[in-house]
């Protein structure tokens, strides 16, 4: 049972690390929104933005075709 004397302190140290990591993550706001980041990886992030002039024209004249 002497192995316990080593394993238990190790588990306590690991626990301390886990708590520290958790506190760090909460303080950094990692848990503020759990749903949105999950969607990020599903879509490419680096597609080029449309030319600004074009979108403004379309936004300003939305109902032109009906």
């Amino acid at each position: 049972m002497a192995i316990l004397l080593m394993l238990i302190p190790i588990s306590l140290i690991l626990l301390g690390l886990a708590v520290a990591a958790f506190v760090w993550a909460v303080k950094r706001g990692q848990f503020d929104d759990l749903d949105t980041p999950a969607l990020d990886i599903l879509e490419d992030n680096d597609r080029p933005a449309p030319p600004a002039g074009d979108t403004h024209a379309r936004a300003a004249d939305p109902g032109g075709r009906d």
């Binding site: 049972m1 708590v19 958790f22 909460v26 939305p62």
Partner: protein, 795 residues
């Protein structure tokens, strides 16, 4: 064009003439310009992944976009934003964020706006954080993009309040996480102790394990459990026994008794008893509360954020509400809300009309003479007014009212209070029983007395009893929000389940509030049809009345109207092209007998007659059929003329329709039904519904309606569809059923366990297990509500 199906963007039923737009090779139908424009922008920005990712429909964008220029004001930004590296940062509230895909879309859309450094949208709290570079863009530009996509920005609380809110959320999460991690380790050691059936473990090892468990449990009990402990202290100071006292005392009992046993080397410890499960209770409560706090935010949105102050030299300036102080002169434009309590200024002729429904529930405007008091939050009607400020900020009547609303929301529903009361009586009765049992065992077998009494106390902790109602309500509110309804009052679900009659308003409720011009008849030879329509459009343009939409045409700006004045219940008058015009009921506009049509005239002679028709919402017939199938009697009460109401009733197959109903008549109808022992639900929309909504047993306000009606209602829809009403009733009834099952189970469990424990047949660890299991069963039963199939999801 067939008006079947729903809008591609917001999922609302399509109007007769939907807007069509070609996106990515296929043509889609939209309900309005706004939705079509949003979808076109999303497609052109290559963000159409949004439509694949979303799990809920977007909010309807609508035709008119808000004016966002106030956001660029330096004083607003000083209070609500803070300086960061290279720019400023602001947190704002928005409505219409319904699922994670909305947050995803907002993130992407804002990141592409020039001058935006960083942004983050949180779908859970409905908040958006934007960091922008003032040198490269005005704040209103990215906000314009948000509004165009259907997310209207609103001022959140001040910077400090926002920070406090985030801090609170994170602290709560830390408590939960620490409890989870601590319990994980404590359970591991406790497991070893439990599995030592034959006491073969050496005593030093056992004690070593016990002391370790003690160390691991201490932060859980005192850090994670602190909300219970402080709540219990508060309850004891107020001399009442509530849930917190129950939870705190059983936790402390298990903890301290275990400590005693550890020190004296007794046979059992109970460190692991239920701290984590009690925290689950806190978690559920927190969820219910976050729904409520979102509703308080909605109230905050209703308050005016800016005021117009008149300086000593007569110049007017717009100032944030906080800058207004006692003694200032404030100007209020017609249709605006009064920013602070004050006294009306002016001479004898300067009487003004104020709508005080928010404060008094009386919807008809009240006439005020100069010198009379006017109150913050009331709406100035017809004419602008000037007032000298007497009370500001938290001392206004409005703020007092808002505090009352917050108190009402903190109020637990009757059923939950009943469960609490049973719980605390139970505890009061339990203490003498425990004493008797202890005395009995002390007499009979003194070495087991402490153990048996502890088991008795732990197993009969009425946690399941007190969890049964909040767990069901929290799940039900979540499910309710998913089908597009927010419960503003805690008792709403309970009453909704018992409703026997449902009264609908017509305009904006059964119909979509967008009347269509059915016929135009020109009586004045000097006018043609188009001319008459232009005059009507100019008069109605800014009235905000549901009828106005019928006249809104592409070129409506061609004519301007001056001195436009709305005459409540009769119509509008004003000067167009130098002529005085009246538009409204026949007796007002053309001195004729009222026939339900809309007349244009100068007060004496008729110039044109418009026949307007309202169409029922596409899902109205379906919703009413579902309601009837649920055994409800459906009524229609409308302020409109006999013919229009009868036509609507015939279309929808309604048995009981009342026309020409004033707000008082509607209220009387509701009272008559209530006198007959019926439980009445009222579904309404317009301003003049507010008293009826308040008078009915339970009320539902349609989300598109005036914000005032929301404030009088128990439930507010977040979209226009009617199918969510039968869905909500199904859900409410299921909730009642689940609550009854939970209460029966929890009571039965406690009554059964008590004698067993008193007889000494239950060991403390079995007791802890029993308590945990009974709480778990109650919670799992409540979670069934989240999976309930409602007519909304399975049309």
């Amino acid at each position: 064009m067939a008006a079947t199906g729903t809008c591609h963007h917001c999922g609302e039923a399509l109007p007769a003439q939907p807007h069509m737009a070609a996106l990515g090779g296929s043509t889609h139908a939209f309900c309005c310009h706004g939705c079509a424009a949003a979808a076109e922008w999303i497609a052109s920005a290559d963000l159409d992944g949004y439509y694949r990712l979303r799990s809920a429909n977007a909010a309807r964008v609508g035709e008119a976009l808000p004016d966002l220029a106030v956001w660029d004001r330096a004083d607003v930004q000083a209070e609500h934003s803070r300086a960061i590296d290279g720019g400023r940062e602001i947190t704002l509230l928005t409505d219409g964020m319904r699922c994670a895909a909305c947050a995803w879309l907002i993130d992407r859309a804002l990141a592409r706006e020039p001058g935006v450094i960083d942004c983050g949208a949180n779908a859970v709290t409905g908040r958006i954080r934007i960091a922008w570079d003032p040198a490269r863009t005005a704040l209103s530009a990215p906000l314009q993009r948000l509004a165009m996509l259907g997310y209207r920005p609103y001022l959140a609380g001040s910077e400090a309040a926002e920070r406090q809110r985030t801090g609170e959320r994170r602290r709560w999460l830390l408590r939960l996480g620490i409890a989870g991690l601590g319990m994980l380790q404590a359970m591991m050691l406790a497991e070893a102790l439990y599995l030592d059936f034959n006491s073969t473990m050496p005593v030093p090892t056992r004690d070593f394990f016990r002391w370790l468990t003690f160390l691991l449990c201490t932060p859980v009990v005192f850090y994670s459990g602190w909300p219970f402990l402080s709540g219990a202290l508060r309850e004891l100071r107020e001399r009442r026994l509530g849930m917190d006292v129950l939870i705190a005392s059983s936790t402390l009992l298990a903890y301290l008794a275990s400590l005693v046993e550890t020190i004296r080397g007794g046979p059992h410890v109970w460190y692991d008893a239920a701290v984590f499960l009690l925290l689950a209770a806190r978690m559920l409560e927190q969820r219910a509360r976050s729904v409520a706090s979102a509703q308080v935010d909605a109230l905050a949105r209703a308050r005016p954020a800016f005021a117009t102050r008149e300086r000593a030299d007569g110049q007017r300036e717009a100032v944030p509400l906080a800058a207004l102080s006692v003694g200032d002169v404030a100007c209020v434009a017609a249709g605006e809300a009064v920013p602070a309590d004050g006294v009306l200024l002016g001479d004898g002729g300067d009487e003004a009309w104020f709508e005080e429904a928010l404060l008094t529930g009386e919807s008809a405007p009240v006439r005020k003479q100069p010198g009379e008091p006017v109150y913050a939050g009331t709406v100035c009607r017809e004419r602008p007014a000037r007032l000298r400020v007497t009370l500001t900020g938290t001392s206004t009547r409005l703020s007092q009212l808002a505090r009352l609303v917050e108190q009402a929301q903190a109020h637990r529903p009757a059923l939950a209070r009943l469960a609490d009361r049973i719980g605390s009586r139970f505890v009061l009765a339990l203490l003498p029983v425990a004493l008797v049992v202890f005395a009995g065992w002390w007499h009979y077998q003194p070495e087991r007395a402490l153990e048996v009494t502890l088991a008795l106390l732990v197993i009969s902790c009425p946690c399941a009893l007190s969890l049964s109602v909040p767990a069901a309500l929290a799940t039900a509110h979540g499910a309710l929000a998913r089908i597009g309804l927010l419960a503003v009052r805690a008792d709403a679900m309970d009453t909704l389940a018992r409703a026997t009659d449902i009264v609908f308003d017509k305009t904006g409720t059964l119909s979509d509030g967008r009347p269509v011009l059915a016929a135009t008849q020109v009586l004045d030879p000097a006018l043609d049809t188009a001319g008459a329509l232009d005059i009507a459009a100019a008069l109605e343009r800014d009235s905000g009345h549901p009828l106005a939409a019928a006249f809104t045409r592409g070129d409506a700006a061609a004519l301007g109207a001056a001195r436009v004045e709305a005459v409540p219940g009769r119509g509008v008058q004003g000067v167009v092209d130098g002529r005085h015009w009246r538009l409204g009921r026949a007796d007002f506009a053309a001195a004729r007998q009222d026939d339900g049509a809309l007349w244009l005239g100068d007060g004496q002679r008729a110039a044109a007659r418009f026949v307007l028709e309202e169409r029922a919402r596409d899902d109205a017939a379906q919703a009413l059929a579902a309601l009837r199938a649920q055994g409800l009697r459906v009524h229609l009460a409308s302020g409109d003329g006999e013919a229009a109401v009868r036509r609507m009733a015939a279309t929808l197959g309604l048995d009981d329709a009342h026309a020409r109903q004033s707000p008082e008549d509607k209220l009387a109808l509701v009272r008559r039904l209530q006198a007959g022992g019926r439980v009445v639900a009222m579904v309404g929309d317009g301003l003049n519904d507010a008293p009826v909504l308040a008078g009915a047993d339970v009320s539902i306000a349609m989300g598109e309606g005036a914000s005032l009606a929301h404030r009088a209602a128990d439930l507010v829809t977040t979209g226009g569809g009617l199918r969510r009403i039968p869905a909500a009733i199904t859900l409410a009834r299921a909730t009642q059923r689940i609550i009854r099952q939970n209460l029966a189970w929890a009571t039965g469990y406690n009554l059964l366990a008590l004698p067993l424990a008193a007889a000494g047949w239950v060991t403390p660890w079995l007791a802890a297990l029993g308590m945990a299991l009974s709480s778990l069963i109650v919670t799992l039963n409540a979670l069934r509500l989240a999976r309930l199939k409602t007519p909304m999801e399975a049309p």
